[in-house]
């Protein structure tokens, strides 16, 4: 557990204690509400998680690395952004992976496009986001994030 996750736990537990001291009934209700939220999202979250498992099997990170280094910059950038969109790789795997690529001389443009869409744009989280925020919100947010991820990558290519 990283420090920040731990911090969220500590803050929440303190908050919970204070809340309990102030009003038991409302606190119990808040906990029930939390449980309700959890139940409501559980199926969606589990499908996200198992979908990621499937994607990692068919598009393993090593193959993504190979793809990013084997193409022209333009193709690799668009491909990298698309691959980042469909996968969800934890930071502690993604950063070392991209680090090795950049060290090996691969252009930073596809690397950055991949890193940015990896976390910000999600095909697997799309159904849940749509359910919670509506179709328009989800489409606009993901669409714009994708375009701006490529813009960020291009500017970084110029700067570095």
């Amino acid at each position: 557990m990283d420090v920040f996750t731990l911090a969220v736990w500590v803050v929440t537990l303190i908050f919970l204690g204070l809340s309990f001291a102030k009003d038991k009934v409302r606190t119990k209700q808040a906990l029930k509400m939390a449980l309700g939220m959890g139940k409501g999202m559980l199926a969606s979250i589990l499908s996200i998680i198992f979908a990621i498992g499937l994607i990692l099997t068919f598009i393993p990170p090593a193959e993504i690395a190979e793809f990013l280094s084997g193409q022209s910059v333009l193709l690799a950038t668009i491909g990298g952004a698309l691959l980042g969109t469909i996968t969800l790789i934890p930071a502690f795997i993604a950063f070392p992976l991209v680090g090795t690529l950049v060290d090996a001389g691969v252009s930073v443009i596809p690397a950055v496009a991949f890193l940015t869409t990896l976390t910000m744009v999600g095909v697997v989280t799309f159904p849940l986001e749509k359910k919670e925020f509506g179709a328009k919100f989800t489409a606009v947010r993901n669409g714009l994030s994708f375009l701006f991820a490529i813009a960020i990558a291009l500017v970084m290519g110029v700067l570095i």
Binding site: V8, Q29, A30, G36, S47, L56, T57, V140, I160
Partner: protein, 242 residues
């Protein structure tokens, strides 16, 4: 009919489950590996989601609407943008962990723009992630990407807010006076029916309002039911006297 509807509602889950079944029939070893691949994400979820749900519910219960509106609402301007970046940056967990929090904030008056900033910064510029990035790609790389990402988020959150209106989000319709339940959002937790059985009841695993005409609504109980709904599907519009 109901089975078909269920499948339609959980289409993604059904597709994933089917894919696993096919994979296990064709190639059991690959299937087992795939389940193992998901292991890390399950751990990640268990570590963060319970606490996010509790925190969201507590904030929902104790932070008054006016406060959220003042700090994250439309009129919060630059202050709201800054605060949203702070909230997103000190967060933990994957992007879906931000969903319940953002829904709650929006219901309490946070603007669309600020919600998008929180979601996006939660996804890409979390502090723990930045540390990791600096370690493997160098502090300079990290700093430049951070600055560019912040600028990009400021711009596209502004564009998004021009396109998306509050009414595009579920659970925002409040035109007719009286009690409303957003049946798309309701997930059948039965809390409202337990809190105020005179007004709410369950039908087909979803809450509906009973006919409450002539009934003297107990404001406390009503407010309780509205506030305790985990998906904020209940709304009450006091336009006309009911």
């Amino acid at each position: 009919m109901t089975i078909l509807k269920k499948i339609k509602e959980n289409l993604f889950l059904v597709i994933v489950a089917l894919a696993y079944m096919i994979l296990f029939i064709i190639n059991p070893t690959m299937g087992t590996n795939t389940v193992k691949n998901s292991g890390y994400y399950i751990k990640e979820m268990i570590m963060i989601m319970p606490v996010i749900f509790v925190l969201t519910a507590l904030l929902d219960m104790w932070v008054p609407k006016e406060k959220i509106m003042r700090y994250l609402g439309k009129d919060a301007k630059a202050k709201g943008v800054f605060l949203s970046f702070v909230v997103g940056s000190i967060s933990a967990g994957p992007i879906y962990a931000a969903f319940p929090m953002c829904i709650m904030l929006h219901k309490k008056g946070a603007s669309i723009r600020n919600i998008i900033i929180i979601l996006s910064s939660w996804a890409v510029i979390k502090v723990p992630m930045l540390l990791n990035e600096a370690k493997f790609l160098g502090p300079q790389f990290m700093a430049i990407r951070w600055v560019l990402t912040v600028i990009a988020i400021i711009i596209f959150s502004w564009i998004s807010a021009k396109i998306i209106k509050d009414k595009d989000l579920p659970g925002e319709v409040l035109t007719q006076p009286g009690l409303h339940i957003n049946r798309d959002a309701c997930m059948g937790c039965t809390l409202c029916a337990k809190n105020y059985p005179e007004v709410f009841e369950m039908k087909n695993k979803k809450a509906i309002t009973k006919s409450y005409e002539g009934l003297d609504l107990d404001q406390d109980k009503l407010e309780n039911s509205i506030n305790s709904c985990p998906v904020n599907a209940i709304s009450f519009n006091e336009g006309n006297k009911i």
